[in-house]
Symmetry: C2
Subunit: 248 residues, 2 copies
DNA sequence: CAGTGGTCTAGACCACTGC
DNA sequence: CAGTGGTCTAGACCACTGT
């Protein structure tokens, strides 16, 4: 007899239960920005190994409830920032109202998938504009915008060698084309080393990857891969007011 | 003796290096659907602890490169499925062309955030339609669609008590309203217990949460929270052909 | 039943932050 | 420098799948 069947069954993993308990505590006993006890203390308090506690914290961080910084501590995260990514059909990057900040422009060969999309041979260098998006004092996204040189109108005057000036010059030339539409896709990814640095996250952090194809005169003239911090932002495709958060 | 400083420095975590090596191996030596060696063997082969190997596998799974099933093994995942989620401005859920399958409809109180959105008191029960989306033989998303009873036209005849019939009847009544627009947002979340079961994933798996607000006559008449498997799908907002994958 | 991935432990050391 | 989160180990056991 006596297979275990006391008050509680245990098909529910410890870290799951921990997450639930912590989540409720966050709602009721903590306020945004407030620091949690450190992991060793929390683990001891709940009577679990630190690794188990960390599994729970990992999930809460994934859901945007917590913010952890090495050497500093764990704090309660503010609600996610809504970032509008609805395709504005008839505009190019850099158009008025575009809040991205172009930081550099180099000629490099794009990733294979992007090369296919642009219809250029692999290894072919294309103009690559680097941009960042900062909202509420926080860096939320970085973007690589790839434009084959052949589609760009000739420059008006001299072209800056590099840096933000060159980036803005290239965008200005792109804007002279007749915009023909955009395709967009969102998927989950993890931050590469460089992206992680720009976004002030650790490598491998979850990110939302938005790929966009820009069309003009029936052909793909540019493609961008934008990387958004998944912990801090919510991508909105609203025509109207932004939505509130999901269940809490 | 001598502190280590051979050919390689090691600011790079082991799991990160592992991930890179495995990723290349997947590209060159494996094909979709093929099984990997089991975790204990892989860990031994790379000379790391299983937990470390699992950190690498976790990331590859997050990126949609691998598929793991308890009791079965780890296989190479097919490319992500593109799912169109572009708001079709002038249609309601259940309109012709809508491939979601309504499975049930119950009256329950929505999560607080949804109640606020709908402008109904918390605890107020609303019609809740449950739907699932199946693509290529695979369950990729589940949705809760919340509709306050007051906005719905009166039924034509008798209303089924429950099940798919009731769900379809409610959707049919919703479709009689004049559609006025939609807002949409995408964010990262983790699957709850029930969602996980529907999506054939473990609880806590990463998911893409799409919240939609439906408007008619200037007021919010419905809201939905759809949960997509983040590992297997890519949300597209295309007007035209779908995009190819991100860098590989 | 044997074999797989999932959970958990109790340690250790490292990398980073701030004082 | 002390304190934090991040990485890593070498085990153990559990839950699930297929045969």
């Amino acid at each position: 007899m006596g297979t275990t069947q006391l008050g509680e069954q245990q098909p529910e993993p410890k870290y799951w239960h921990l997450k639930t308990v912590l989540s409720q505590a966050l709602d009721t006993e903590f306020s945004v920005g407030q620091a949690l006890p450190n992991e060793r203390e929390l683990a001891a308090r709940f009577g679990v190994a630190r690794a188990t506690l960390r599994q729970a914290l990992d999930q809460l961080e994934l859901e945007g409830r917590l913010q952890r910084r090495r050497g500093v501590g764990t704090t309660v995260a503010p609600p996610r920032v809504g970032v509008d990514v609805s395709p504005r059909q008839h505009t190019w990057p850099g158009a008025p109202g575009d809040t991205w900040v172009a930081t550099d422009c180099v000629r490099v060969s794009p990733p294979p998938a992007v090369a296919r999309l642009l219809g250029v041979p692999p290894e072919e260098p294309v103009e690559t504009v680097l941009r960042g998006l900062i909202t509420q004092g926080q860096s939320v996204a970085v973007e690589h915008l790839y434009i084959p040189s052949v589609v760009l109108p000739a420059p008006d005057g001299r072209v800056p060698a590099a840096g933000g000036d060159r980036a803005r010059e290239v965008l200005a030339r792109l804007r002279r084309l007749e915009p023909g539409g955009q395709d967009r896709a969102v998927e989950l990814g993890s931050a590469g080393a460089e992206e992680a640095r720009s976004l002030d996250r650790l490598p491998g952090s979850p990110v939302l990857i938005v790929t966009t194809r820009y069309v003009a005169a029936g052909r793909t003239v540019a493609a961008s891969v934008a990387t958004y911090r998944a912990d801090t932002c919510r991508l909105t495709f609203g025509n109207q007011a932004p939505l509130s958060l999901t269940a809490r």
